[in-house]
Symmetry: C2
Amino acid sequence: MAKYDPDLSLLFHALSDPTRRAMLERLARGPAAVTELAGPTGLRLPTVLRHLSVLEEAGLITSAKDGRVRSCALVPQALVPMTDWLEGQRALWEARLDRLDDYVTRLMKERER
Amino acid sequence: MAKYDPDLSLLFHALSDPTRRAMLERLARGPAAVTELAGPTGLRLPTVLRHLSVLEEAGLITSAKDGRVRSCALVPQALVPMTDWLEGQRALWEARLDRLDDYVTRLMKERER
DNA sequence: GTGATAGTTAGAGGAATGGCTAAGTATGAT
DNA sequence: ATCATACTTAGCCATTCCTCTAACTATCAC
């Protein structure tokens, strides 16, 4: 089992860091240069660059250099594999929740007698 | 910025490992004991236990001991914070995609003249 | 109580992560 | 040509992660 899906792992890992999520939230308002993304984080540039490369390797952002400025932007479709997986799970999990409800309900009815 | 939301970080981190995702997928088919979860992974028990505790600390599963067997089960609502965040982002990202489309369309119309 | 079963705890080791400084390169402005 | 800006690269350090072995505890079955 557990044939590993590098895509999902990279994606979930990329989102597991609050700094990176904050960067994505900033980028949701439009493309931005590296320095601009660094600003609110309080982190040094090399550190920020590492975070950006994690995001880029996960396919969540693209970046291109224009003159001496590197501009970063979201890759909108990038969330799809994750939302698909979560959606699939949610469906199954809720089915289980229903069965649990049934079970509890049945238990309580037993008690009432 | 980046006021950190430990919840989301724990959740995304928990899902970033293929072994843990496989365990969740197994649990989606119903509760299971530790040894049963360990089986398909090929990992040693202490390793499996560590994965389970990551899942449990993220709030994705619960476990309870009955006799000498520990039974693990999903916590169905646990995915909600993640899907909420992703849904919020998706909305913003797609808005950006629309604007990009607009932009490209406009560019192409300019070219046509 | 003996032995097998199902976890559990403690600890070690190597790789990956997240942060830094220091020193580089490339480009725009004067 | 000089200087400031905007990254970029290289390397260090502490911590966390994933996995293991070895030894332990707690049931259950005889």
